[in-house]
Assembly symmetry: C2
Homo-oligomer: 261 residues x 2
């Protein structure tokens, strides 16, 4: 018995890393759907289909006890559907991120950034409003260039700073005091954002999801197995994997194994 | 009888548009694999598999007389494989682009820009060397941010100009007089590149492919049918489709239809 994590590709490794560090004896199986990455520019129906295929793979192969959706685009559309379809607990990144943002925001003005899919779904907006006990204001902004600049390794450059300002200045001007990084890639830009906007509280799902995992009724004392599956060998995956999680066993599976499910 | 064109998604519409304008009576079927876009960050094996699936779909469904690969990443790895596998002529974008570049370059210093897949394949380099009768020098540069900035609509902005210079200055400094746009998205940036580097000859495959199509032994006098298929509904596809080709019949097919082939 173990837990499964899936993501469209690389970004979810920030979640994998955080979970692996907090639960050293837990068995963790990760699937990165690198053959179809990114999900954030795909339609709702397609994102839901891919999410079902990824979770079925992890369940059929490893009888996982719980599933973590380490992708904001997939979490936005699939958490409820997977909860109904699967017989195990399902944790997405939207709920933990929203809960934490409400705790840290003083003025109730919260910014949310993510892919088009995540922002268009209004998943953070709906969850924030549902969870909040006071009046809040939410300012959303899709930032589709963040993922490519991160994968291009342009972390600390003039171009990155210009793009950060291009996207964020507008919601900063609305007076937000808290910013939800609604994409598992974005924590990589945390320092640049902090440098330009030092007064903003940044909410990083890969960190805040740990509390929700602790509450799960699963066996945390396993063998500490870590196994990563990808649907395509990509050099950027291996590069970020090395940096984030080091020497974890990684295996390529055929995309047709998912499409068949 | 008709011709088929496929691309990973949107960029190939620049080729579709050019072919449709030059051959008004030709029947043209286009497949954009928007459910798995982009191909340029996927591995060689995966790109070849996707290319076979896309062409099989067009052949099984429309008995096309010839196939155009309107994607540089797919052309880089799949032209020879598809030529051997299929019983119809196959035209990629690498050969026409290379031939034209050799014709227009005066000093024999040619730049090639494209996705990681296209540049890493060295397909342009090999073809240029093979076709050239004199000594030439080739300077390659992957430009992975060009596609996202184009799809983000940032065509004429300070960020775009900075990114263009960041990628191109290095090969310009080598003294190139000709630049091959080795990605079917890039013609959208032609004006910005011309503005920054007015002395460079720009080679656009969507234009130069026409000569190769003219030489095909196929029936050009058909009914002028135009039909576009996509594997995922994406708003950016529809936006660029409207701009480039207007009101062409577009139909979504399931990705599983391709995976089964």
């Amino acid at each position: 018995m173990a837990i499964g994590i899936f993501d469209s590709g690389i970004g979810g490794l920030t979640v994998f890393k955080s979970v692996a560090e907090h639960f050293p004896e837990l068995d963790i199986y990760y699937l990165g759907d690198t053959a179809r990455v990114p999900y954030g520019n795909k339609s709702k129906d397609t994102i839901i289909r891919y999410s079902i295929e990824c979770s079925q793979f992890l369940i059929n192969r490893f009888e996982i006890e719980a599933l973590i959706i380490a992708c904001n685009s997939a979490s936005s559309y699939s958490v409820e559907i997977l909860k109904n379809k699967l017989n195990i607990p399902v944790i997405g990144v939207i709920y933990p991120g929203s809960k934490h943002a409400l705790e840290v925001s003083k003025n109730g003005k919260i910014g949310v950034i993510g892919t088009y899919a995540t922002i268009n779904s209004n998943s953070y907006k709906k969850t924030l409003i549902e969870l909040s006990e006071r009046e809040i204001q939410i300012f959303q902004k899709p930032c589709p260039l963040f993922v490519p600049i991160i994968e291009e390794g342009m972390i600390d450059s003039e171009i990155t700073r210009l793009i950060v300002k291009e996207y964020l200045q507008e919601i900063i001007d609305e007076g937000i005091d808290t910013l939800i990084l609604g994409c598992t890639h974005y924590p990589v830009l945390k320092n640049v954002i902090k440098e330009i906007y030092p007064d903003i509280q940044i909410v990083d799902s890969s960190q805040v999801i740990i509390d929700d995992i602790k509450k799960l009724d699963i066996n945390f004392k396993e063998n500490g197995i870590r196994h990563i599956f990808i649907t395509d060998e990509s050099s950027s995956f291996h590069k970020l994997k090395e940096i984030l999680v080091g020497d974890v066993k990684t295996e390529k599976i055929e995309l047709s194994e998912l499409c068949k499910l």
